[in-house]
Amino acid sequence: MNKSYELFIGPNHPGIPGNFSLHLELEGDTIVSAKGDPGYLHRAFEKLMEYRLYIQNLALIPRICVPEPDINETAYSMAVEDLMGVEIPERAKYIRTIVLELARVTAYLLWMGGYAGSLGLYTLGQWATGDRDYAIDLFSELTGARVYHMYVWPGGVRRDLPQGWTDELLSYVKYMKDKLIDYDNLFFKNAMFAHRAKGVAKVTKEQALEWGATGPILKATGVAQDVRKDDPYAAYPYLDFEIPTMEEGDSWARAIVRRFELETSLNLIEQAVKKMPKSGPVWTKMPNPFKWYVPEGETYAKVESTRGEHGFYMVSDGTGRPYRVSVRGASMPHMFTIAEKLLVGSRLADASHILLSLDICPPEIDR
């Protein structure tokens, strides 16, 4: 009689954040080995980008990460600006910061719903999806699109803020800050949540650094590493904020770090709106976008996503199309070095909880 058996989770499974498969080997309900199987979402972004003009790629790259597309546009634009030697106007920097932070809020809310759902609390999912939709309405008014905005582009942003938009934004921020108290009472202060999540999938500081963790996973072990502080871009150098950290390194600590990050993002939006220049250009004048010839060279541009460091390595050969673009998604090491190790020894009922606590985004693996 066989002692162990195999079980597949995914590619379609409510406990998996996207189309991704996991091959588990179990004894009873204890996982003895876990192997990730990517490929269900491969759309060959890196190859397609080589065939397209720099401006055409803008329609393609937001699709690399579905819950938070703006990081892709920003990192891509930063890489192009770096190669072309373009400085973006002051007002555009603030607008980028606001867009990025609002996108972080939507991504955290989406994550919160999924994470609470994996623990059996579906109410939070309903609330968070509803609150995320208010932010998406703001995006739709600003950019004309709900999810894939294509708003940030090389040289700045596509157009100026609509009249009265910042007031709507600030009232949303105020609403979210009040709502956070409800979220705390329902979920983050809930004794059942602490009971279920404390001590699960614990990572030490040394392990997190060794395994290439970034973002909330690393912050939950006590390392305050954040691209917004360490290699500032957009308007982050002018804003005052702290990186939240925890010492425990388990699933609970990661959730609490994300909860504080959500609050930090809301504060950053308020600060950026207050400090933003009232008028001025939002785009550095550049040649006709269909005739952008980016000088020869290579660069690595990175931004902080809700999952960690998100970067674009871009090689240009001096023509109108990129020679090679390589995307660094935070989820690649999170899946293949961290999740595969953390799942071993845990219970099957915790598998989707662990995956969601690491916030793995499959499109970042199948670029």
């Binding site: 490929g39 690595y300 693996i365």
Partner: protein
Amino acid sequence: MSVLDKIKGIEGVNVKVQRDNRIFVDVKEDKLISVLYVLKNIGFNQLSLLSAVDRINEEQFEVFYVLYSNREKVNCIVRTYIPRDNPKLVTAAIIYPPAHAYEREIAEMFGIKVEGNADAGKPFILENFKGDVPPLRKDFNSMKYVNAHFQPFRHHDEVELEAKDE
């Protein structure tokens, strides 16, 4: 002693500073692993990205390792060049564990053999891929592959014209 001086002190490297915190280091393939060891010891404790560029005109692959030092807040990009006709590389997964998955990816996408990585060369992201040329190489023709293995692609103008003829 700054981190840049320390990197310049390593034997057999060619250093180029692109901007404040982006240092490009070119190194020969046989020195690669020892240079990565030294860089890890001087504080570059994270591997952010590992991938390759197909330099078809120079007949070689450029393999790059984006390293990060969270103490110095500096990115160091190590580049090495391997011949295109017989691409071989030694694994860096012992020094940087995340390299394991990235090496599986470049083995599949560029056809680079990675010695010491047991999983490199096994199917990873691509499923049922039947082409002779690995897909991220510059001589891989996407359109040709699609037409050979799927229903041939036709431009919508052609389809409209045919409909009119009928």
